[in-house]
C-alpha cells in the first residue's frame, strides 16, 4: 500500500514534463511544421513575458499564498516604463523594477503584519496599481520613441545566431530565481514556510520577513514581465497585459507547484509555461477561438489544483 503511494508520488513529480512531451508530440502529429526549431523558438520568445510573471508567482505560491496583483503590476509597469524612457533611458527599467518590488512588498506587509488573506491583499494592491497605471497614462495607449527604445532596450529584442534575445533575458531571470530558490537561505526558508508554516515559526525563523520578500520578488518579476512586454510592443497602456493572470497561475499549477506550496518550484513553472504555450499553439491549429481558450484554461486550472493540492495541510477547506 505504502509502496503504491510512493510510486504515485514519484510519478506525480514527473507528470509535468511527461505532459509537455506528450502534448508536443501530439501537436507535431497534426502538423509537422510545429516541430521545426524556428517555430519552437518563436513560440518560446512569444511567451517570455508570461514566463517571467509566472516565475515570480511561483515564489508566492511556493510559500502557500497567492498573488492576484501580478497582472495589474505588469500593466502599470508598461505605462511607467514608457513614460520614464525619454528621461531615464535604461534607468526606466530599474525604476519599474523598484516600483514592482515596492508594490509586492506592500502586499507582503499587508498579508503578514495585518493578517489579511493574500488573495484579498493582493487584489487590493492590484487595484491600487491599476489606478496608478491609469493615472500615469491618462487612460491612453502610449508609444515609445523608436530611437530611444533601441538605444536603451535594443539589447532586449533582436536575435543572435537565430536565438531571440528575450529568451536569453528570460533564461537569466529563471537562473536568478532558481538560485534564490535552491541556493540561498531565502529559498530554503520559502520551502520551510510552504511545507508547514507553524513549524517554521516555532523553529525561530523570522517567517514574516521572508514572506514579505517572496511577495516583493513576485511584484518585481511582474514588473519585469511588464517591462519586457512593453519593450516588445514598443509602448504601454493600463490594459496592455490584460489576460496574463489566468495563464500565469495555470503555468505555475500545471508545472506542479501546488496551491498549498512547499514542493515544485521555478523549474516546474518553466515546464508549466511551455505546456501553456503548446496548448495555446495547438488551439490555433485546431481553430479554436480565443474565447474557447479561456474556458479551457479555467477548467485546466481546476483540474490542476484538484490533482496537486495537499489536502493533509487543510483540515477545513474554506
Amino acid at each position: 500500500m505504502t509502496d503504491r503511494v510512493a510510486l504515485a508520488e514519484r510519478l506525480r513529480r514527473h507528470f509535468p514534463w511527461i505532459t509537455l512531451t506528450t502534448l508536443t508530440i501530439l501537436v507535431g502529429f497534426t502538423d509537422v511544421n510545429f516541430l521545426r526549431p524556428d517555430n519552437l523558438l518563436n513560440l518560446a520568445a512569444d511567451i517570455v513575458p508570461l514566463l517571467i510573471m509566472a516565475i515570480g508567482m511561483t515564489l508566492v505560491i511556493y510559500i502557500g499564498s497567492i498573488d492576484l496583483s501580478s497582472q495589474s503590476i505588469a500593466n502599470m509597469a508598461t505605462v511607467l516604463a514608457t513614460i520614464a524612457l525619454p528621461s531615464a533611458g535604461v534607468g526606466a527599467g530599474v525604476l519599474v523594477l523598484a516600483v514592482g518590488l515596492a508594490f509586492g512588498a506592500v502586499s507582503g506587509v499587508v498579508t503578514t503584519r495585518l493578517k489579511v488573506p493574500s488573495f484579498i491583499s493582493t487584489l487590493a494592491v492590484g487595484g491600487i496599481a491599476l489606478s496608478v497605471g491609469q493615472f500615469a497614462s491618462g487612460q491612453q495607449a502610449l508609444h515609445m520613441d523608436a530611437g530611444q527604445r533601441l538605444h536603451a532596450f535594443g539589447w532586449m529584442v533582436g536575435r543572435t545566431a537565430g536565438i531571440p534575445h528575450e529568451l536569453v533575458v528570460a533564461l537569466l531571470l529563471v537562473v536568478v530565481a532558481w538560485f534564490i530558490q535552491g541556493r540561498m537561505t531565502a529559498g530554503r526558508t520559502f520551502k520551510a514556510i510552504g511545507a508547514g508554516e507553524p513549524v517554521a515559526v516555532s523553529s525561530g525563523i523570522r517567517v514574516e520577513r521572508y514572506k514579505i520578500l517572496a511577495f516583493a520578488l513576485s511584484g518585481m518579476f511582474a514588473a519585469a514581465a511588464g517591462l519586457v512586454f512593453s519593450v516588445k510592443l514598443s509602448g504601454g497602456s493600463p490594459t496592455l497585459a490584460e489576460g496574463f493572470l489566468l495563464p500565469a497561475i495555470v503555468a505555475v499549477l500545471v508545472g506542479g507547484t501546488p496551491l498549498t506550496g512547499g514542493v515544485g518550484g521555478v523549474i516546474n513553472t518553466v515546464i508549466g509555461t511551455m505546456i501553456v504555450a503548446v496548448i495555446r499553439a495547438s488551439m490555433l491549429y485546431l481553430n479554436i477561438p480565443a474565447m474557447g481558450q479561456q474556458i479551457f484554461f479555467g477548467l485546466v486550472l481546476i483540474v490542476a489544483i484538484a490533482t496537486t493540492i495537499d489536502r493533509s495541510k487543510m483540515r477545513i477547506v474554506k
Binding site: G64, S65, I66, L68, V110, T111, T112, L114, K115, V116, P117, S118, F119, I120, S121, L123, A124, V125, G126, G127, I128, L130, S131, V132, Q134, F135, Q139, E197, P198, V201, V207, L246, L259, P289, A290, M291, G292, Q293, Q294, I295, F296, F297, G298, L299, L301, I302, I305, A306, I309, R311, M314, I316, V317, K318
Partner: protein, 321 residues
C-alpha cells in the same frame, strides 16, 4: 468584559458612521452632492452592485469566498438578453420568462462553483476564480464578442420610470434585499450560514451537513448575481461580456467595508447595503468633487485593506496565507 461589549457595539456601527461622514464631507465640498437627483444617480449605480454584493455576502458569511461574479454576471446578462429577444423581445408577453431563465443560469453556475469547491476540496477563492474565467469565456463564446441591445420599453422602465424621483430598479433592488434579509434571518439555511462561518467544527459536530449548506450558499449567490446582471442590463440597455467587468472588486469591497467579517459568522445583508452605499458614494463623490473616476480602484484598495484589518478577529489567528 463589559468594556469589550461596548467596543463591539461601537465597532458594529463604524461602517454606518463612515457612510455618514462621507456624505457630510462630499456635501461640504460640493452642495450639489446632496440633491435628490444625485441621490437617484447613486441609487442607479448601487442597485446592480447591491444584488451582486448580497449574493457574495451569503458565501462570505460561511467563511468562503466567491470570486466568480464577473463571469457569472456576464453569462446571466447574456442569457437574459438572448432569451428576452428570442421570446418576443418584451417582458409583456413571454419575455418575462427571461428573468427566471437568467436566475436558473446563475443558480447552475453557482452550483458548479459550490460542487467544485466542496467535492474536489479546493479552496473556494480558487475554485470560483477559475469558474469566473470560464464564465467570461462562455459569455464571449455566446455573444461572439458582440453587444446585445435591449429596447423593450417595459424593461427599460426599470430605469426610466421614477417613483418619488427614484427609478424602479432601486425599489427592485430593495425588494431583493428584503428577500435576502428574510433568507438570512428567518430560514434554517440562513442560520446555517452563520453556524458554519462561526465555527465549522462545531456546526459539523452538531450534525449539520456542511457540504450541502455550502453548495446551497453558492447557488443562492449565483441567483443573486443573476438579479444583479438583470439590473445591470436594465441600467445600460446592453448585455455583453463587459457587463460583468469590475463587479468582483466592487462587490467584495462592499461586503468587507460594510463590516461582514471575511472569516465568516458575523455581519449580514444590511451591512452589505451600507458597504455598497459607501463604495458608490465614494465613486459618485469623487466625480462630484472633480477627481478622475479611475482613482476609485486605488481608494477602494486602501479601503479594503483597512476594513479587513479592522474587522479581523486576530486573537485566534497565528498567520494568514
Amino acid at each position: 468584559m463589559k468594556h469589550g461589549l461596548v467596543m463591539d457595539n461601537i465597532r458594529k456601527w463604524v461602517p454606518f458612521l463612515v457612510l455618514l461622514v462621507l456624505v457630510l464631507f462630499f456635501a461640504a465640498v460640493n452642495p450639489h452632492f446632496l440633491s435628490l437627483r444625485n441621490f437617484a444617480r447613486i441609487a442607479v449605480s448601487s442597485s446592480p452592485a447591491l444584488m451582486v454584493a448580497v449574493g457574495a455576502t451569503f458565501v462570505i458569511l460561511m467563511g468562503s469566498i466567491d470570486l466568480s461574479m464577473e463571469g457569472t454576471v456576464a453569462v446571466c446578462a447574456v442569457v437574459f438578453a438572448m432569451l428576452l429577444n428570442r421570446l418576443g423581445g418584451s417582458l409583456a408577453h413571454m419575455g418575462w420568462l427571461a428573468i427566471p431563465g437568467a436566475m436558473i443560469a446563475g443558480g447552475v453556475l453557482g452550483a458548479v462553483n459550490g460542487l467544485i469547491h466542496v467535492r474536489l476540496r479546493i479552496p473556494s477563492f480558487m475554485a470560483s476564480l477559475s469558474m469566473g474565467f470560464v464564465g467570461v469565456g462562455l459569455s464571449l463564446l455566446m455573444t461572439g464578442g458582440n453587444r446585445i441591445l435591449i429596447g423593450d420599453p417595459l424593461f427599460r422602465s426599470l430605469l426610466t420610470v421614477r417613483i418619488m424621483s427614484f427609478p424602479l430598479m432601486a425599489y427592485a433592488a430593495l425588494g431583493g434585499l428584503l428577500v435576502a434579509w428574510f433568507i438570512q434571518g428567518r430560514t434554517t439555511i440562513g442560520r446555517n450560514f452563520y453556524a458554519i462561518g462561526g465555527g465549522e467544527d462545531l456546526a459539523r459536530a452538531s450534525g449539520l451537513n456542511v457540504g450541502r449548506v455550502r453548495v446551497i450558499g453558492f447557488v443562492l449567490a449565483g441567483v443573486f448575481f443573476a438579479l444583479g446582471a438583470v439590473l445591470a442590463v436594465a441600467r445600460l440597455g446592453i448585455a455583453e461580456t463587459e457587463t460583468g467587468t469590475g463587479f468582483m472588486f466592487l462587490s467584495i469591497t462592499s461586503v468587507v467595508v460594510g463590516g461582514t467579517a471575511l472569516a465568516g459568522g458575523s455581519g449580514g445583508v444590511w451591512n452589505t447595503l451600507v458597504g455598497v452605499l459607501i463604495v458608490n458614494v465614494i465613486g459618485n463623490g469623487m466625480v462630484v468633487v472633480g477627481l478622475p473616476d479611475y482613482l476609485q480602484d486605488g481608494v477602494l484598495g486602501l479601503l479594503v485593506i483597512t476594513a479587513v484589518y479592522l474587522s479581523m478577529d486576530r486573537r485566534g489567528l497565528s498567520f494568514a496565507r
